[in-house]
């Protein structure tokens, strides 16, 4: 386009009318009239008026970045662990109904003393407290061991364990008994060993202290492992324990608010085509899931897949004469699941999915076991578990068409165990409520750390990218996170672990939400240099004639002004 509306009328140079005049003289273009000059000035002014009075406000309005205020220093402090050192004061009640008050006081004092001597990890310590309403508290604990887990409110610390000290005739040394479904440890002692207030280190105290130390050894090592990062745990932790802890952490799923459990029945034939899954889940799994309620929520789906064949890559099971069974080699188990053809969704809904597969082999290959140890189940780390169910065959050598609730019992017991492992529940002590409590404390620690480090990352991100917008909801998420983090910390300090976990869950959720805010994520990958590429291609071509026009006009005005001054 050679002519723009703002351009002056092209002055003419007459073509040499060579044919007529035979001369090549050049005529000077007629001078511009003042009127034309003024018109040009007006045209340029009109364009620039639009730019200045409308363009710049729009530019300012639409490209200014809203950055809500974030408490950067506080966030960094959390990430560096300066704000909160998580401590775990575990309150343990000691009940000695048959001891005199001074004796029991003494026993308590000496046991506590011994415990403190044994303990080398200050953040995690056991605090003994004497109670007398033993029968009452013990009964309460026995009655609803799970409901104490849910007791998140309240100002008093959670009672993690009740130790009952009871005399028993005919014992040479003290012995202890942990009740599997309660948070109660019974310690029996020979009546002869009643600690007298004079002895400084009675054997009973030492025994109780060692028992407690043993009960919480793994938890202590785990928490130390988490708090100190991957590097070092406690000095005293045996290499086996360290190994088992890191193995458990490797196997278990990342923490999630909600897990999705998917139970699938696979069989290569047409039967069994139905199973009493609802009753089985209700009967064998629900109590466990209820007990997990303070930690995570669960959703469940089930499916039955018939004619589910192995993938061609899987080595076929081999018949073992001595075992009288079809065997799978241990190293082939990783190829057992036909991921290409079996419809196992990687994730349904929000949370991660845990898959539990019940495989009923074909009658011609039944029974099927793992070769090395005749096991019928195995766990797939961070994914789920498999159980090989070999139901008794019908008369016509076929699988039963229906799997009753009873026949599923062994499978679901295994699944429950696998679920506990996959969720990172420690293997000791033997009591399930204690293991779940341990899990609560471990999870509270991990969530506290992960939310804190997310805060630190967010702070660093917003610091390093000054052009990133910070929406108001991110700021509110951050303040929610910080307040819940400090709530978590104080709950931990006071020994209220359920409340601590509840706060930590909120903190983690909010932290993730603020970090993965949609409008910010897009900007992270948008460096400032790209703005040149955004502005120039269009505004450059538009701007050049406008700016050149403006410069010419300014030059002319300056020249005029100078001429006027010279004349005056």
């Amino acid at each position: 386009m050679t002519v723009k509306p703002g351009d002056p009328v092209s002055p003419l140079t007459p073509a040499s009318d060579a044919s007529k005049s035979h001369t090549t003289r050049t005529r000077v273009p007629p001078p511009e009239t003042p009127e034309a000059v003024q018109t040009r000035f007006r045209v340029i002014a009109a364009f620039w008026a639009v730019i200045i009075f409308l363009g710049f406000p729009i530019w300012w309005q639409t490209t200014s970045i809203y950055r809500a205020h974030l408490p950067i220093q506080e966030m960094v402090d959390w990430a560096d662990g300066k704000t909160c050192r998580p401590v775990y004061p575990l309150e343990i009640h000691v009940a000695a109904p048959l001891l005199q008050s001074p004796e029991s006081q003494h026993l308590l004092r000496t046991t506590q003393h011994t415990l403190d001597d044994l303990n080398e990890f200050a953040a995690h310590h056991l605090r003994l407290k004497l109670t007398n309403d033993t029968s009452d508290s013990a009964a309460r604990v026995v009655e609803d061991s799970t409901s104490t887990l849910r007791n998140t409110a309240g100002e008093t610390p959670d009672v993690v364990l009740t130790v009952r000290v009871l005399p028993e005739e005919g014992l040479a040394t003290p012995r202890s008994e942990l009740l599997a479904h309660t948070t109660q440890l019974d310690v029996f002692y020979p009546p002869s060993q009643i600690p007298s207030p004079s002895t400084s280190n009675p054997p009973l105290s030492v025994f109780i202290a060692q028992e407690l130390q043993r009960l919480y050894g793994e938890e202590k090592a785990t928490i130390a492992h988490i708090l100190s990062g991957e590097s070092a745990g406690l000095d005293s932790t045996s290499p086996q324990l360290t190994e088992s802890i890191s193995r458990r952490l490797r196997r278990s799923m990342k923490y999630a608010e909600t897990y999705h459990l998917s139970f699938s029945l696979f069989t290569p034939g047409s039967v069994p085509s139905s199973w009493d899954i609802e009753a089985a889940v209700q009967e064998y799994l629900s109590p466990l899931l209820d007990a997990f309620e303070p930690i995570s929520n669960f959703t469940i789906d089930t499916q039955v897949q018939l004619y589910a064949t192995f993938s061609p890559m899987t080595p076929a099971p081999i018949y073992d004469e001595t075992e009288a069974a079809w065997t799978l080699k241990k190293e082939d188990l990783s190829a057992f699941i036909n991921a290409a053809e079996w419809p196992l969704n990687p994730s349904i809904g929000n949370g991660p999915t845990l898959n539990f597969i019940l495989y009923v082999p074909d009658p011609s290959q039944s029974p099927m076991v793992v070769k090395e140890n005749r096991a019928s189940s195995w766990i797939v780390p961070q994914w789920g578990g498999v159980f090989l169910l070999n139901p008794p065959l019908e008369k016509d050598q076929s699988n039963p068409a229906h799997l009753s609730q009873d026949s599923l019992q062994s499978a679901f017991m295994t699944f429950s165990h696998q679920l506990l492992t996959l969720l990172g529940t420690p293997s000791t002590p033997a009591s399930l409520p204690l293991r779940l409590q341990t899990l609560i404390r471990v999870r509270a620690a991990t969530l506290l750390l992960s939310a804190s480090s997310t805060m630190g990352s967010l702070a660093r991100l917003t610091e390093s990218l000054p052009s990133i917008p910070i929406p108001a909801n991110v700021a509110s998420s951050v303040s929610t996170t910080l307040s819940h983090l400090s709530a978590t910390c104080s709950h931990l300090r006071d020994g209220r672990f359920n409340a601590a976990l509840a706060s930590a869950r909120v903190a983690e959720n909010e932290a993730e939400r603020s970090f993965f805010e949609k409008t910010m994520v897009g900007q992270v990958y948008f460096p400032d240099e790209h703005k040149v590429a955004v502005y120039l291609p269009l505004l450059g071509p538009i701007g050049v004639p406008l700016i050149v026009g403006l410069m010419k006009e300014v030059k002319r005005l300056l020249a005029e002004w100078k001429a006027k001054r010279a004349a005056a």
């Binding site: 639009v50 363009g55 729009i58």
Partner: protein, 423 residues
């Protein structure tokens, strides 16, 4: 009267041609209605049908997020019989609207404003077409016929604009403002024509009246009339839809914010598909300001020929508005024959016309390759829309050059016919 017979002949032939087309090819209107070159989200007849369906069932026509046209069209079209069962009455309405537009063009042409106005008198004013020829150029333009058959609602905007101009050149400034209000109500962008139109009316007034009115007061008066007419139409719309903000955001909000990036012959859709989200609003502002900034500059530069400013702005709109279609181009092409006397001064007509023909033939082909055959991609169609816009821009720039040259020759009668050199 010979002239009348010619007029009747041209108008009748245009009517019969359209009627023949829909009788011989009954599927043609629906085919054209679906073409992106003809139907945009703001003028599509299909979307109008959707709005009409909702409207006749007492649902807000904007509920589905499909209909974005002015609400006053709804009662008008609800009077017509259903298009599926009986398409002829609707088609006849559109034919008549075309004829009415042509009639307005005849009025504009016969006023002679394009060659001889208050402040300007063209040098070559003997080279010109009469009103019927200008109308014939409009009526037999394939773009006009396609728009008419596709029943695009742009034709009503065209009517508004042409009536505003024809009333302005005959001195009915109030009617001109009312017509412009109607056009602005329908499509928003014609409001930008206000300044040159008022100047046109003002020049007319100077010619006729002995006592020249105050320019500023005159302008304010007409702005008031325009605003009042728009406000009246908006008031009627509220009576129809009931919800003021809903229809404002569905119609004018849609024009301004360009949320629907369906391909069309314009330059916006591709740009905003590619644009980073955070810069979207800024560039919306840039594009709209770019469109609006021509008004001031052109009006200043061509102060002596406000009618030509209107025509050139129509060309600018056809290129740079957010949802252009060939109906906008057809309106621009309709005003060009008024300036037959400028044609000898234009230098790139061959190139411009080639580019326009090339793109109007290849455009549908490339669109087919992209959407249906799958052997092309969006860039094919976008490249063609660039060529289309380039052709229009060259034509526009060339005509403006010719108009300026004409003005210059008027000022320097001794230099007529000399060659120009750009410095």
């Amino acid at each position: 009267m010979a002239v009348d017979r010619r007029t009747v002949g041209v108008f009748g032939a245009a009517f019969v041609l359209r009627l023949l087309l829909i009788c011989l090819f009954p599927s043609l209107p629906d085919l054209l209605t679906g073409r992106v070159e003809v139907s945009t989200p703001v003028n599509s007849f299909k979307r109008l049908q959707e709005g009409l369906y909702l409207y006749t069932r007492n649902v807000s026509p904007y509920d589905g997020g499909v209909f974005h046209q002015a609400p006053l069209l709804l009662p008008l079209f609800s009077l017509l019989p259903g298009v599926q069962s009986n398409p002829i009455p609707t088609a006849i309405l559109y034919f008549l609207v075309d004829l009415v537009n042509a009639r307005a063009l005849v009025t504009i042409s016969e006023s002679g404003q394009s060659v001889q106005s208050q402040l300007h008198s063209a040098v070559r004013k003997h080279i010109r077409w009469d009103g019927v020829s200008v109308a014939a150029w409009f009526l037999f333009n394939p773009f006009t016929i396609a728009t008419c058959l596709a029943r695009s609602t742009s034709v009503f905007t065209t009517t508004g604009i042409l009536f505003a101009v024809s009333n302005a050149v005959t001195g009915n400034s109030v009617n001109a403002m009312l017509a412009l209000g109607f056009a602005s109500y329908l499509s928003l962008y014609p409001a930008l024509l206000f300044v040159p139109l008022v100047l046109l009316c003002f020049d007319q007034r100077l010619q006729s009246a002995n006592k020249p009115p105050n320019g500023i007061i005159y302008g304010l008066q007409h702005a008031g009339i325009l605003l009042a007419s728009i406000a009246g139409l908006l008031g009627l719309s509220v009576l129809i839809t009931g919800n003021f903000w809903e229809f404002m955001s569905a119609t004018y909000g849609f024009h301004l914010l360009v949320p629907d990036l369906t391909p069309n012959v314009g330059l916006w859709w591709y740009f905003f598909i590619e644009m980073f989200d955070s810069f979207r609003e800024f560039f919306l502002g840039v594009f709209w300001l770019h469109l609006a900034s021509y008004v001031g500059g052109l009006t200043m530069r061509l102060r002596r020929q406000p009618l030509f400013v209107v025509a050139s702005l129509l060309g600018v709109f056809a290129i740079f508005k957010p949802y252009p279609s060939i109906s906008d181009a057809s309106l621009y092409f309709a005003t060009l024959p008024l300036y037959r006397h400028l044609f000898p001064l234009m230098r790139y007509t061959f190139f411009a016309i080639s580019a326009i023909l090339y793109s109007s033939l290849l455009g549908p082909a490339f669109y087919h390759l992209w959407i249906y055959a799958g052997s092309g991609n969006a860039n094919f169609f976008y490249a063609i829309t660039l060529v289309w816009s380039l052709g229009l821009s060259i034509l526009l720039a060339d005509s403006i050059f010719a108009a300026i040259r004409d003005e210059w020759e008027q000022d320097h009668p001794d230099a007529q016919g000399t060659e120009v050199k750009q410095v």
